[in-house]
């Protein structure tokens, strides 16, 4: 599975630059402004220096705001990219989850004992099949469907295997018992 992309390193320099602008605007620019004011005061007088400082402050603020806007826009773009990446990542993960957990809603399965029942209905008499074999198969199918509907797949498989273990030995025993009975009956004339 694809690993989640790491965008945190792209955001770090932008956040650092934003913080630097904020610090410069609050501390460094204040000191520079004080030095500039002293120089302008000496050149143009106090009123002229204040007017010039006001104009420069507006320009500096506008420039700082512009730069901050640029940085915030860049940060937002990276964040959007990050969000898009997460979306793609989340979608892929969701699809993977769906692939793993979703099963076909309709599954056609052969009930246990269908082929066995057909085979024994040919080999046995109609009465023997209906009275001794068919009820056993019907019980197995009833239990099998109950186990499948309850989601107990392993138990359902065991029911399928158990049906063959139950039916075949009984049928083989009955077949040989009836054969021996016929042989003895023929030998004794009965």
């Amino acid at each position: 599975m694809k690993r989640r992309p790491d965008y945190s390193r792209d955001l770090e320099p932008l956040a650092a630059e934003l913080e630097a602008v904020r610090i410069r605007s609050e501390r460094t620019l204040k000191q520079e402004a004080e030095r500039l004011f002293e120089r302008l005061k000496a050149e143009r007088g106090e009123l002229g220096a204040r007017a010039e400082m006001q104009r420069l402050a507006e320009l500096t603020a506008a420039e700082s705001a512009k730069r901050i806007d640029e940085l915030k826009t860049a940060q937002r773009e990276v964040e959007l990219e990050l969000k898009a990446g997460m979306t793609v990542y989340g979608r892929k993960r969701y699809l993977y989850h769906v692939f793993l957990t979703t099963k076909p809603s309709t599954t056609i399965v052969r009930l246990p004992g269908e082929r066995l029942g057909h085979a024994l209905s040919i080999l046995l008499t109609r009465r023997a099949y209906q009275k001794t074999v068919a009820p056993v198969i019907a019980d197995a199918q009833y239990e099998y469907l109950g186990a499948v509907s309850a989601g107990r797949d392993l138990h359902a498989r065991w029911i399928r295997v158990r049906l063959y273990l139950i039916v075949w030995p009984g049928w083989v025993y009955g077949f040989f018992a009836s054969l021996i009975r016929r042989i003895i009956g023929a030998g004794t004339g009965g």
Partner: protein, 96 residues
């Protein structure tokens, strides 16, 4: 003519069916017998009892599930009389 004297398993089945007048399925008899009756042989016993007239079976045309229909067994009058007679006989033997 089949031997009409009931075996221990047949008496057990008759007792279970007498306690359940609505009748029982073969699997229910196996479950209620606590291991005395087996899945593979219970229907042989039930067929023999049906031949003797102790019980009656009814196979619905449409089953209660998607597979083959399961036969439903109820006790018949001869089965009830046979069970009563067997119980009276066992009581006399205990007294003697």
């Amino acid at each position: 003519m089949p031997n009409s004297f009931p075996s221990d398993k047949e008496l057990l089945i008759l007792g279970l069916l007498r306690d359940e007048p609505a009748g029982m399925y073969g699997l229910e008899l196996v479950a209620a017998s606590n291991g005395t009756l087996k899945r593979g042989t219970v229907y042989v016993t039930l067929t023999r009892m049906e031949d003797k007239g102790f019980i009656k079976s009814r196979v619905p045309k449409k089953g209660d599930h998607a597979g083959l229909p399961r036969p439903h067994y109820t006790i018949a009058a001869p089965g009830l009389r046979c069970l009563d007679a067997a119980q009276m006989m066992s009581m006399r033997m205990v007294r003697a």
